[in-house]
């Protein structure tokens, strides 16, 4: 089976290449950017293209979207880290049949490649139900966005303010602040206060 690998971390790509070759795959090309991946895939028509989400110039999902037209027999698999938050629904809409986290094992990646080559769709299990359901109903499976008020509360929490302080600053009751806080944690699927602060830093709502 001929596969294309695209990731901008060279050593990561070389490592995956070694793994895949050991498993009997033929790595017909290695790309470091989105446009390079597109060129190689359009020239070589691999059976499967493994695309890192976070690449310079063009991300993995955009590459996949293009390949639907320019290399329709090439199946595409998205490789992403949790921090990148690549949209599973967007990947599905771009015709991708595989979605794998970098925190999964080599065996997971290999079985996904094999299944995708056979025509199946294999998304990481905890995404699968949500993403497919969202496509089905047309609803968004993405986390519900925060309201403006919730954003204000989040920023104040991340800056280290007490509930009382926040209540005072925003002219709310402490009870209301607490319930905003719970709602925020629910929406962001976060269970620990520390994660709220990291979310705020990641989204550049505050500087660290």
């Amino acid at each position: 089976m001929h596969v294309l690998l695209a990731d901008d971390h060279i050593i990561f790509r070389e490592s995956l290449c070694a793994l895949l070759e050991d498993e009997g795959f033929d790595v017909m090309g290695e790309a470091a950017t989105g446009p390079e991946a597109l060129r190689m895939a359009e020239a070589g028509h691999p059976d499967v293209a493994i695309l890192d989400y976070n690449m310079p110039e063009l991300d993995g999902i955009s590459v996949a979207r293009e390949l639907q037209k320019s290399s329709p027999h090439t199946q595409t698999v998205l490789l992403t880290s949790e921090e990148d938050n690549a949209s599973a629904v967007e990947a599905l809409r771009a015709g991708m049949h595989g979605y794998v986290y970098k925190s999964q094992t080599a065996a997971d990646l290999i079985s996904t490649i094999r299944e995708v080559a056979r025509g199946a769709i294999h998304f990481n299990t905890h995404l699968a139900a949500g993403a497919l359901n969202a496509l089905n109903t047309g609803a968004s499976s993405e986390p519900e966005p925060l309201t403006e008020r919730e954003r204000q509360v989040l920023i104040l929490i991340a800056k280290g303010n007490t509930t009382r302080n926040i209540a005072k600053q925003l002219g709310l009751s402490a009870k209301t602040v607490e319930s905003h806080r719970s709602r925020i944690m629910q929406k962001l699927h976060v269970h620990r206060a520390a994660e709220l602060i990291r979310y705020a830093i990641r989204r550049q709502l505050i500087t660290p």
Partner: protein
């Protein structure tokens, strides 16, 4: 003598691929870890001659893991393999006595070169790490003293990851009372009075990713 390598990275597929690459080059990979504590434990149990560590790992980051490993495994060579190229990390690594610092943006050859160089007693930094970093280190006047002890840094990382005092105690094998007094001491030293501040400090220092 064949080199025995310990690999630590929180992305299993990368670690497994890197193992395949290193074995092709004649190295023996004797252990794989996905967090810093596991790396320290396996180093103690299996006596590797070389440790290749990612920096950004949960529970204990690569630089702090390296500090412990270098104390317990005398003579071991440590290389950090990371995507972080910022000056702060490089200086922290050099301050800890780590002699190899390799960027993931580089090719495997760079890592192999680093392993060779540090065995010869040199310091190896990937191309792409600015010269000013090296100058700052050599000048030494730029390096501020770390306010925290090793143990305090370990506690801080766990607190910033959202662990309760009880969980911190469990991970580090301390009593809850000791963990709590470390936490208090950290807040005193840093003049930070709430968790949010500790998380932000940890992100700034590179103990955790945002």
């Amino acid at each position: 003598m064949q080199q025995r390598i310990l690999l630590a990275d929180d992305h299993p597929m990368f670690r497994q691929g890197l193992k395949a690459l290193l074995e092709r080059e004649g190295f023996q990979v004797v252990a794989e870890a996905s967090d810093g504590h596991e790396a320290v434990r396996l180093a103690r149990q299996l006596n590797p001659t070389i440790a290749v560590l990612d920096i950004g790992m949960p529970l204990l980051n690569g630089i702090d893991a390296a500090r412990q490993i270098m104390k317990q495994n005398v003579g071991i060579q440590v290389v950090l393999l990371t995507m972080y190229e910022e000056e702060a990390y490089v200086l922290e690594a050099l301050r800890a006595g780590i002699r190899g610092y390799v960027l993931k943006a580089q090719a495997a050859n760079d890592l192999l070169g680093a392993i060779r160089e540090i065995q010869r007693g040199s310091v190896y930094l990937s191309p792409g790490i600015s010269k000013t970093v090296v100058d700052a280190y050599v000048g030494k006047s730029e390096l501020p003293v770390d306010p925290l002890t090793d143990r305090e840094r370990q506690v801080l990382q766990l607190v910033a990851e959202g662990k309760t005092t009880k969980e911190v105690a469990e991970v580090l094998g301390l009593s809850a009372k000791t963990a709590d007094s470390h936490r208090t001491r950290i807040m005193q030293k840093l003049e930070i009075h709430e968790t949010a501040g500790l998380v932000r400090y940890a992100v700034r220092r590179g103990f955790i990713k945002a």
